[in-house]
Symmetry: C2
Subunit: 448 residues, 2 copies
Amino acid sequence: MQLICPEWIAPVAPEPRVLAGHAVLVEGDRIAGLMPADQARALHPSAPCTELPGHLLVPGLVNLHTHAPMSLLRGVGDDLPLQAWLEQRIWPLEARLMSPEFVYDGALLACAEMALGGVTCFNDMYFFPEQVAAAASLVGMRAALGIIVIEFPSAYGSGAADYLRKGLELRDRLRDDPLFSFCLAPHAPYTVSDESFTRVARLSGETGMPVHCHLHETAAEIAESEARFGRRPLRRLADLGLLGPELIAVHAVHMDDSDLALLAAHGASVAHCPHSNLKLASGIARTARMRELGINVGIGTDGAASNNRLDLLQEGRTAALLAKGASRDATAWPAHEVLHAMTLGGARALGLADRIGSIEAGKAADLVAVDLSMLQTAPVFDPVSQLVYAAGREQVSEVWIAGQPVVHKRQFAESEVRSRVSEVVGRVRLWHNRISEILPVGPGAGVS
Amino acid sequence: MQLICPEWIAPVAPEPRVLAGHAVLVEGDRIAGLMPADQARALHPSAPCTELPGHLLVPGLVNLHTHAPMSLLRGVGDDLPLQAWLEQRIWPLEARLMSPEFVYDGALLACAEMALGGVTCFNDMYFFPEQVAAAASLVGMRAALGIIVIEFPSAYGSGAADYLRKGLELRDRLRDDPLFSFCLAPHAPYTVSDESFTRVARLSGETGMPVHCHLHETAAEIAESEARFGRRPLRRLADLGLLGPELIAVHAVHMDDSDLALLAAHGASVAHCPHSNLKLASGIARTARMRELGINVGIGTDGAASNNRLDLLQEGRTAALLAKGASRDATAWPAHEVLHAMTLGGARALGLADRIGSIEAGKAADLVAVDLSMLQTAPVFDPVSQLVYAAGREQVSEVWIAGQPVVHKRQFAESEVRSRVSEVVGRVRLWHNRISEILPVGPGAGVS
C-alpha cells in the first residue's frame, strides 16, 4: 500500500470536481481508495506517502489515435498538402525504411515523449505492432495495439489477410499482459476492401475488439467513396456492419448532420485530432455539435509526421479552443469536460472504461501529477482550468502506470529506461542521416 | 566582443534560411556580424564564445499584443462568453484591484513568463504603464509601452485626456532608455470617442508613434459601430485619420474584403492573437488572405486572462495551423514565414524594424537559443520547422536582450532577478486570496 498526497485531485468520475487535501491509496497495480489525506495517513500510518504540494493529480492521459513509429518522420513533410505529403514524403520513405528496427526505434522515441508528457495509454495503428509492444513494454506504458488491415503489401506482410493473421497471433501471444489491449485497425475506407471490412466486422462481433479507422478525414475521401461505392464512407461502413459502440471514427472532420446522427444513434466514438486536421488542412471537426449529440469524443495526437508533437495536453487545449472558436460559443467544451475527453473519453472508446480513465477505487493506478506551482500557471483558481488552458507538458512531474512509477521528478524513474531512451536518441541521428539520403529534396527552406 | 556559436542560426532577414556552423558576433548591445564560426574564432581568438551544440539561434520573439498585468487574472473567467467574461469577471475585479502594486506584480509575473519563453519585446496596453516599465526593466526586457486612451476613469486617471497626459509624461521621462518605445493605445472603437481618436491621430502624425488598438474583434463590435456611427469601425478610424502604416489592428477577426483592402492599401499591420480569439469565441482571423494581400502580420498572446499562456512559440504554432485549417491550404503560412511574423513582423509593426527582429549586423543583440537536442524535437530536418511545429517554450535555454544575458540554462541569469521573481510568485498567492474573496462565484466546477 502506498499513499499519494497532492495538493489537488481531479478524479474525473463519478463527477467532475476537484478535491483538495485528499490522498489516493494505491495497492499493487490498483487504486484502493480516495479519501481525506489525514484519514488516509491515520488508517495507514506505515504506508509510504508521496507528498506533492502544488501538484494536481489526474488520471493518466489516453492518446486515442497515433502512429507511434512515425516519430522518426517528424518534420519531413511540413507545409505540404496531404497528397504531396503522402505521395512525395511519407509513402516513399516508409517503402524504403519499413522494418522491425524502424518501428521499434520510432515507437520508443514516441513512448518516451508521450510518457514524459503524461500519456499513460495510447491507441496505435502501424505495421510490426509487436515492436510497438516491445517499446511500450520497456517504458512501462499501456497500449491498445492496432491489428492493421490495409490491402497493399509491406515489409510486414503481404496484404490484409496476412496482417490480420499476424495481428491475431500477436494478440494471442500477449493475452496475459495486462498493459496491452487490441483494436482492429482497418486503415481507411479508401485503402480497405469490402471483403476485409466484412472480416473486421465479424471479428469485432466475435471478440468485442474496438475498430480503429480513419474516417471522413477529407472532403476528397467522401467524394471518392461516392464515386466508387455510391455512398459516403460512414454509410458504407454501416452497411458492412461496422457501425456500433466498437467503432472509433478517427478525425471525423467532414461529418454532415446525417453522419453525426448515425454516429450518435449507434454509440460510436470519435478520436478528435485537431492539430493534424489543421496542419494537413483537412478542416475543423464539429466537436461542439458532436458533444451536444452525446457522441463520445476522445483526443488523439495522430503521428508525429503530421502534428508534430505527441503532446496530449496541448492537443486537449487546442480541442477546447477550436470548439469555442469554430462554434462561436465560448462555453463550448469547458475545461473539466476536456479533461474527461483526454482520459475517460479515450478509455471508453477503447473499451477500457472499467479499468482506466478515472481515479476511482478498483481501477488501475494510472496517475499523473502536474506541478502547478510554476510561475507559468500562477495563480491557481480552478486547477483543472489551469491544467487545460495554461500548463505545459513539461510541468508533468510524476507518472504512475499500473501502480509503477514511470516518471519521477520529470525523468524516467528507472535507470534502465533512461539509458535505453538515450541510446534510441542516438540512433535517431542515424535514421535522420538515412532519411536525408533518401529524400529527393530537403524540407523547408533548407540548411546552408 | 563575444561570440555565440549555436548549431544553427535562422537570421530571418535578409532572407529566410538556416545557417549551420556559423557564429554571431556581439559587441556591447549590438550584433557586430554573422560569419562561419571558424572564421569568427580566428578573427577574435580572445573573445569569449558561448558554444551551443544542438541549439537553434533565432531573433528574440516579439509579442505584438498583451496586457501584461492581467496575468494576475489568469483563469478567473474561463469558459465564459466575452460579455460575461468582461462584465462579471474582468471589469469588476479590475475596478476593485487597480493600483500600482497590482500592475507591477502582474507585469513582473508576465515578464518572467515571457522572457523564460523567448519573448524579448512585448507591446503592452494597460493602466499604470510606468509600473509595466519598472517590471520590464527589472527583468531586462524590451517593451513598447502603451499610452492608454479610454473614456472611463480608473485608479490610474480620470479619463482619456488624463491618460494621454500621463502617458506622454512617462514617454518624456523614459526617453533615454533604449529598451523602451511607446505606442498610442486607444483601447477600442467602442470605448474611445471621435474626439480622442482625433487627438491620437494628430499625436501619431507628429511623433510617428504607432497606434495600438483592438479592432474588429467581434461581430457585435461592428454591428454596434454601424448603429452608432453608420460605419464599420475600420472605416470610422480611416475617416478620423488613423489608417496608415502606424496602425496596429489587434485581433482583426471580422474583416471583409473591403476591410482587408483598406488595411493593405494603407500599409497597416495586424496583431494576430489566435488563442484569445478562439477562447472568447470571437472567431478565426483570415490570416491566409491577409498574407496574400501583403499585409504585415505579427503575433500576440493577448493578456493571460483570455489565453491563458503568454507563450509566443505556441501562439505562432497555432497561427500556422489555424491558417492552414481555416483556408484549407496546407501550404498557407509555412514555418519560416511564421518565424518572420513572430520576430520581424512584430518589429515592423512597432516601428522597430531597423533595430530588432532579425540577426543582422547593426541590430540590437536580442537573441534566443532553443535546445533542439531534446527527444521531443528529434530528429531535426529543418530546425525552423521543428521550432514552429514541435518545440516547447521550455526548450528555450538562453536569452540575450541588447547583448545582456537575461536567461541562462533556462533560469534568469542574474540572481537579483531570480529572487525578485520568487518574491512576486509569493505575492501572487496573496493576490489569489484577495481575488477569491471578491469573486462572487468560484470558477469552473469549484474545489471541494
